[in-house]
C-alpha cells in the first residue's frame, strides 16, 4: 500500500480511477464510506451491528467487482448507496426474512427531520423518536424510502433518482405524496398521544 498517499484532496471519482490501476487505493474508499454505509444499512434494515458489518463487507466487495461499471456521469456516493440499498433488499429477499425492512431512527435524526421537513409544528417535544419512527414505518415502503433518502440522508432529487433508478419526476411525485401521507399519519397519531 502507498502509505504516504494523502487521499483528503481526492474526489471519490479520482479514487475510483486510481483503484482501477491499483487495488490498494480501494481501502481509501472503504474508509471514506464504511461508517456512513453502516449507519444507512442499519437504518433501513434494523440489523444489529455484526449483521450490518457482514452485509457491509459484501457491499464493498460487490462495489469493488463492479467498479468498471461505474458511470462517471453519476456521483460515486449515489452509486455506492444504490449498491448498498439493492444488496440489503436482496439479502432480505434471498434469506426469506419475514420481517419487512424497518427504519431505525437515532436521536440526532429528529432535529434534521423536523427542520428539513418543515414539520416544526408537528414534530415537537411531545413526539418521541419512537413515535416518528412508528409513523414512518407505517407508511408504504416506497414512501418511507424516499422520505428517508430525502430528509434523513439528505440527498437531492437527482441523487435519489440515481439511487432508486427512477426518473426524477417520479421521485418528486413520490416525495410529495410521501410528505402528505406522513403529515396525515402524524395528525392521526397526535390525536392518540
Amino acid at each position: 500500500m502507498n502509505f504516504n498517499f494523502d487521499e483528503t484532496g481526492k474526489t471519490d471519482e479520482e479514487l475510483v480511477a486510481l483503484t482501477l490501476k491499483d487495488q490498494e487505493y480501494f481501502s481509501f474508499i472503504v474508509k471514506r464510506y464504511s461508517v456512513k454505509l453502516k449507519v444507512y444499512i442499519s437504518r433501513i434494515s434494523g440489523l444489529g451491528s455484526e449483521d450490518a458489518d457482514d452485509l457491509l463487507q459484501e457491499v464493498f466487495i460487490k462495489t469493488y467487482r463492479h467498479l468498471n461499471d461505474f458511470d462517471g456521469n453519476l456521483k460515486f456516493s449515489a452509486w455506492i448507496y444504490r449498491i448498498a440499498r439493492n444488496h440489503t433488499i436482496s439479502h432480505f429477499r434471498k434469506n426469506k426474512l419475514k420481517q419487512e425492512l424497518q427504519l431505525q431512527l437515532d436521536e440526532n435524526v429528529m432535529e434534521n427531520l423536523s427542520s428539513d421537513f418543515d414539520l416544526e409544528k408537528e414534530i415537537n417535544d411531545n413526539m418521541t423518536k419512537d413515535s416518528v419512527q412508528a409513523v414512518l414505518n407505517s407508511l408504504d415502503a416506497r414512501y418511507r424510502e424516499v422520505l428517508e433518502l430525502k430528509f434523513i440522508e439528505g440527498w437531492d432529487y437527482r441523487q435519489i433518482s440515481d439511487i432508486l433508478k427512477k426518473p426524477m419526476g417520479t421521485v418528486a411525485t413520490l416525495i410529495n405524496r410521501a410528505k402528505k401521507k406522513f403529515k396525515d399519519q402524524l395528525k392521526k397519531q397526535k390525536i392518540k398521544i
Binding site: K31, I61, Y64, D69
Partner: protein, 253 residues
C-alpha cells in the same frame, strides 16, 4: 472495529479470495444488448403501429352502414386486433429493455411511450410509402396458419353481397386488353374469398386508366346483388395496399 481495521479486513478478503474486477467489456456488452433489444422491439412496435394506422385509415368508414348497423360496432369489428396485440407486446418489451440499460431509468414510462409512438408514426410513414405493411401482411398470411383467423374481419365485412358489398379477385375482364376508355358498361368475373365466381357489371362512362383494374387485381365493390351469381357495381375500389400502390383510387359511374 475502527475504519482502518474494517478497510484492512475488506482488502484482505479481496486478496485472499482473489477477487478481481469484472471486465468493462462485459458491462458494455450487457448494456448494448439491452439497447439493441429496445431498438429492435421499438422498430417492430413501429411497424405494427404503421399497420394499425394503415388499416384504420383505409377502413371504408363511409360505407359502414352497409356493413353494420352502427359506427361503434363497425369500429370494433374492424380493429386490427392482431397488430394491436403485437404493438402492445413489443412496446412493453422495448420499455423493459430500456429500463435495464444503464441510463434508461432517467426516462419516464409516458415519455418513452410518447417517443416510441412518434417514432412509430415516422417509421410507419416510411413503411407505408414503401408498401412494407402490405408486404408484411402477405408474409404473415402465408407463414402463420392462425393469421387468417385473426386478420380476416375485413374479408368477412366485404363479403356481404346481400348488403351490397363484395370483394375478390378480378378473374376475367370482358376485354383482353387493358381498358382505356369505355362508354357503356364493363363486365368482369370476380372470384370471392370462398372461391365463388360472380359476374359483375359496372355501368360507367368514366375514363379508366386505373392500374388496379385488371385481371388478377384484388378489388372491393359497392353495389347491389341482382342475381344468384351476378352483381351490379356502383363503385369499384382497390383492395388497400401500400401507399406506393394506392395512386389510383376509385372507379365510379
Amino acid at each position: 472495529m475502527t475504519d482502518t481495521d474494517f478497510s484492512q479486513k475488506i482488502m484482505s478478503a479481496i486478496k485472499d479470495e482473489k477477487i478481481t474486477l469484472i471486465p468493462r467489456w462485459r458491462f458494455l456488452a450487457k448494456d448494448s444488448i439491452f439497447w439493441f433489444g429496445f431498438l429492435l422491439c421499438a422498430t417492430i412496435g413501429g411497424l405494427a403501429f404503421s399497420v394499425v394506422l394503415f388499416v384504420l385509415t383505409n377502413n371504408d368508414w363511409e360505407i359502414y352502414d352497409k356493413a353494420e348497423s352502427n359506427l361503434f360496432v363497425f369500429f370494433f369489428e374492424t380493429l386490427p386486433y392482431f397488430w394491436l396485440i403485437i404493438l402492445v407486446l413489443f412496446l412493453a418489451v422495448a420499455y423493459f429493455n430500456l429500463r435495464h440499460t444503464k441510463s434508461g431509468y432517467h426516462y419516464h414510462l409516458l415519455f418513452v411511450l410518447g417517443a416510441v409512438i412518434l417514432a412509430s408514426i415516422f417509421l410507419g410513414a416510411i413503411f407505408c410509402v414503401f408498401g412494407m405493411n402490405h408486404d408484411l401482411e402477405n408474409v404473415f398470411r402465408s407463414q402463420l396458419p392462425f393469421y387468417d383467423v385473426v386478420a380476416s374481419q375485413k374479408e368477412a365485412i366485404w363479403n356481404r353481397p346481400e348488403k351490397g358489398i363484395l370483394s375478390g379477385y378480378i378473374a376475367e375482364l370482358d376485354k383482353n386488353e387493358k381498358i382505356e376508355k369505355v362508354s357503356s358498361s364493363v363486365s368482369f368475373d370476380l372470384q370471392d374469398a370462398s372461391g365463388r365466381i360472380w359476374h359483375v357489371i359496372l355501368v360507367t362512362s368514366t375514363v379508366l386508366r386505373q392500374k388496379f383494374f385488371e385481371d388478377g387485381s384484388r378489388v372491393k365493390i359497392v353495389g347491389s346483388q341482382i342475381g344468384s351469381d351476378s352483381f351490379q357495381a356502383d363503385e369499384v375500389r382497390p383492395w388497400p395496399v401500400g401507399l406506393r400502390r394506392l395512386a389510383p383510387q376509385l372507379v365510379s359511374p
